[in-house]
């Protein structure tokens, strides 16, 4: 889209920046990545009062231009780098009117970069409610920039803001905030003259950040380094001096423009809620209750839509089989591609519901409290208070949970959380556990109320949480992190969730999931389909010819004949050959070649297991006929020994394998997407496979 000017939104977290962005752009926005980093870049378009179109870029929320996380470092490079394609013509700094003092720090930093700035004074409604009075004209005069009071949630003042954007000056007119040069006079002068910079604050920022900045040349970097040594510049001391000077300026601006009453009303309501929600005793109980509700809802509410989606795909596949001529291409499209797509699509309801919950918890401010309550416990095992939510979400599906780890600022904590989240029992493992447990665990009660099968299933869930915690504890000592961990975090005031934001988050996450994970899962399904549908040499032709002999047609009914052909073809397909090839490796775990095929196909997605078992035992593979798969598996005998294949030892060994192994292409894809480095999914795949093998081996030999 052609745009007339580019506007960047800058502000502290929790100032309503995203709400303002949504209000300005409507649904006319897209989420991408900033070049080279995994930071969400939200851009949208806004029609201004004079008919021009402005491109609005939402920059990550930050408290200062000195970055504490990767997200935050984007802000400086976009604002300062003249060559950056996203460099804005105008910056709108969003200030929270209820907390101007801290919010103004970032404003003064941005203003000193001498980019044209206007101020959106958000949450004016809340400020009025709590009795805060602001002399807008005086405030605007003191800063030297237009100040527009808005209430983004209510949509108040938005037209005024659009007008101000239209009429904004092309040159920076803001007042000087602090004497930047006084912080490091010689260094700033030298860098400015050597790099030909016209802005002293930009020069000072380069002195602080040159090591992490990509837009200066290595020679410039070395030169700045040398100059710092020459003038004995100490980055942190200079930052401290600068921050204190800025707050002096801010206090001067605020003392006659803003009047704050002794106690603010809004805060006392928030405090009352906190007395209950973070109570020493009830706080944790309420948290467990919230989790149970969330967990329960993800299962309960998604069951029906998931069934609908699955049935819909089956219907489409069946119809296409009727319409299209039979042949390899039809097979590939209908069974490979569409079959693979259905494997992705069935997870949409779970993802949408999980993200609805997460965005409600974040929006209301409860998430910050969960983090606050759980931090001590999680820190002991190498995680972080913020890891709780992805781990719990892992019960539904690891894919959206791994996406939600972005809220964890500390790199090492985030990596460990991503590494262990797939260990938590996700919903795709559930049908496998149910099938295997019903095969070998008797369906009777112990101690009156506890069903043995139910106990076994609960045991698998608890076991998965324990294993995630233990692995996290080990990784804490393995992964090296350079960033120092902080827990200096704002506890935002409780707010009502913004429902359109919740809806948008559901839509956006589901879309991202389908597009990103969909690509990989379709590719792998196609490969698996080819492997299972074709065999080496002329084996398939020989099978066809063998069953054409009259004795088969006489002794078998047509559908029995078809099943016999199907099963023999599978054994002789590339997948079958592969199964036979890996048999020596998996034999110590108690698995035969048929289970081997299921293991291989399950690496695309675990839920393929039941279907593959069904296909192997020549039953039409779909979940509705699980009873008959179960029957077949129960009666399956080892041809050499005549003993049942699925003994207690084999079933539990298999469950252990599924508990640990990384059998999910979508997760592998999303881990790569979030870490931007194949090293992480490769490491995760390797450690989980090793654990899976070891656990299966142990369990099989213990129970045998």
């Amino acid at each position: 889209m052609k745009t007339d000017l580019r506007v960047a939104l800058v502000g502290n977290p929790n100032t309503g920046k995203s709400t303002l962005f949504n209000t300005l752009t409507g649904l006319n926005q897209k989420i991408g990545n900033f070049p080279g980093v995994t930071v969400d870049k939200k851009t949208g378009y806004c029609t201004l009062t004079d008919g021009r179109t402005a491109e609005i870029v939402d920059l990550p929320g930050t408290y200062s231009l000195y970055p504490k996380s990767k997200d935050e470092s984007i802000v400086f490079s976009i604002l300062a780098d003249k060559a950056n394609p996203l460099k804005p013509d105008l910056v709108v700094v969003i200030l929270d009117a209820t907390n101007l003092k801290r919010n103004l720090l970032l404003y003064t930093q941005v203003a000193d970069l001498k980019i044209p700035v206007i101020v959106a004074l958000n949450m004016m409604d809340l400020a009025k409610k709590s009795g805060i009075t602001i002399d807008i004209d005086l405030f605007s005069k003191k800063l030297g920039v237009p100040v527009i009071p808005v209430a983004a949630r209510k949509g108040e003042g938005i037209d005024k803001l659009k007008e101000a954007i239209s009429f904004a000056n092309k040159i920076a007119l803001q007042e000087e905030s602090i004497d930047v040069e006084a912080i490091a006079p010689q260094l700033i002068a030298q860098i400015s003259s050597e790099l030909q910079l016209d802005n002293p604050y930009y020069a000072l920022q380069l002195a602080h950040q040159h090591e992490d900045i990509k837009f200066i040349s290595p020679e410039q970097n070395d030169r700045i380094e040398a100059l710092e040594k020459e003038f004995s510049f100490h980055s942190q001391k200079a930052q401290a001096t600068e921050t204190i000077a800025r707050y002096n300026f801010i206090n001067e601006v605020l003392y006659d423009t803003v009047k704050v009453p002794e106690t603010a009303k809004e805060e006392s309501i928030s405090n009352k809620i906190d007395k209950v929600l973070t109570h020493r005793f009830f706080g944790l109980i309420i948290f467990v209750g919230v989790l149970l509700f969330m967990f329960q809802s993800i299962f309960a509410w998604s069951a029906y839509p998931m069934e609908l989606i699955a049935d819909g795909f089956v219907w489409v596949q069946n119809s296409l089989h009727h319409i299209l001529p039979a042949g390899p291409l039809t097979g590939l499209v209908v069974d490979g591609v569409i079959g693979g797509l259905s494997g992705v699509m069935v997870f949409i309801p779970q993802i949408a519901i999980l993200f609805a919950f997460i965005s409600i918890l974040e929006d209301t401010g409860y998430m910050a409290r969960v983090t606050f309550m759980m931090d001590k416990l999680m820190r002991k095992v190498g995680l972080n208070g913020k890891s709780v939510v992805p781990l719990i979400g892992g019960f539904a599906c690891a894919v959206p949970s791994i996406m939600s780890t972005r809220t964890i600022e500390n790199w090492k904590d985030r990596m460990i959380t991503i590494m262990v989240t797939p260990l938590v029992t996700c919903s795709a493992r559930l049908p496998i556990y149910i099938l295997l447990i019903s095969l070998v665990v008797p369906n009777r009660n112990v101690w009156w109320i506890f069903n043995l099968q139910g106990l076994a299933l609960t045991g698998m869930y608890v076991f998965s949480l324990i294993s995630a915690v233990v692995v996290a504890f080990v990784l804490k000592h393995v992964i090296k992190g350079s960033e120092r961990g902080y827990f200096i975090m704002e506890l935002p005031v409780y707010r009502m969730p913004r429902w359109n934001n919740v809806a948008f988050s559901m839509y956006e996450r589901a879309k991202t999931f389908v597009v990103q994970a969909g690509k990989v899962i379709i590719a792998i399904s196609v490969i698996l389909w080819v492997l299972a549908s074709y065999g080496p040499g002329d084996r398939f032709e020989k099978i066809d010819q063998k069953y054409k002999q009259p004795q088969y047609a006489r002794s078998l009914k047509p559908d029995e004949l078809e099943r016999a052909i199907k099963s023999e073809k599978l054994e002789n397909s590339y997948a079958g050959v592969l199964g036979h090839t890996i048999e020596p490796v998996i034999r110590p775990l108690g698995f035969d070649w048929k289970i081997g095929i299921a293991l291989i196909t399950s690496f695309a997605a675990r839920e393929v297991f039941v279907g593959t078992m069904a296909a192997i035992y020549s039953v039409e593979g779909n979940a509705e006929k699980m009873e008959s798969v179960q029957q077949k598996m129960k009666t399956a005998k080892n041809p050499e020994t005549g003993q049942p294949v699925f003994t207690l030892a084999v079933a539990f060994s298999l469950m252990m394998f599924y508990a640990f192994a990384m059998q999910c292409a979508s997760t592998v894809a999303v881990v790569y997407r979030e870490t931007k480095n194949w090293k992480w999914p490769a490491f995760q795949f390797a450690y989980m496979t090793v654990l899976a093998y070891a656990a299966s081996l142990l369990v099989y030999n213990l129970l045998r």
Binding site: K101, D274, F281, F372, L491
Partner: protein, 71 residues
């Protein structure tokens, strides 16, 4: 006395910091020398703590609080 030793509900005034790196982050968040600070609540497991400072609520670990010296 440091912030970690302050009693809940008692008003303290920030004097200085013992850790330069931490102080930069704390000052950015509005926790400055001369600023009034009170402990609003302690997490159920005893750490971290939530403090009222500069007109809003900030949470920090006890170790981080121990680097803040009060008047």
């Amino acid at each position: 006395m440091t912030l970690s030793e302050l009693k809940k509900g008692v008003v303290g005034i920030v004097k200085e910091f013992t850790d330069l790196e931490m102080s930069v982050k704390l000052m950015e968040m509005g926790c400055l020398p001369g600023e009034e600070i009170t402990i609003a609540r302690i997490a159920p497991l005893g750490d971290p703590i939530a403090v009222n400072v500069s007109g809003y609520q900030l949470s920090l670990r006890k170790f981080e609080a121990s680097t803040i010296i009060l008047q």
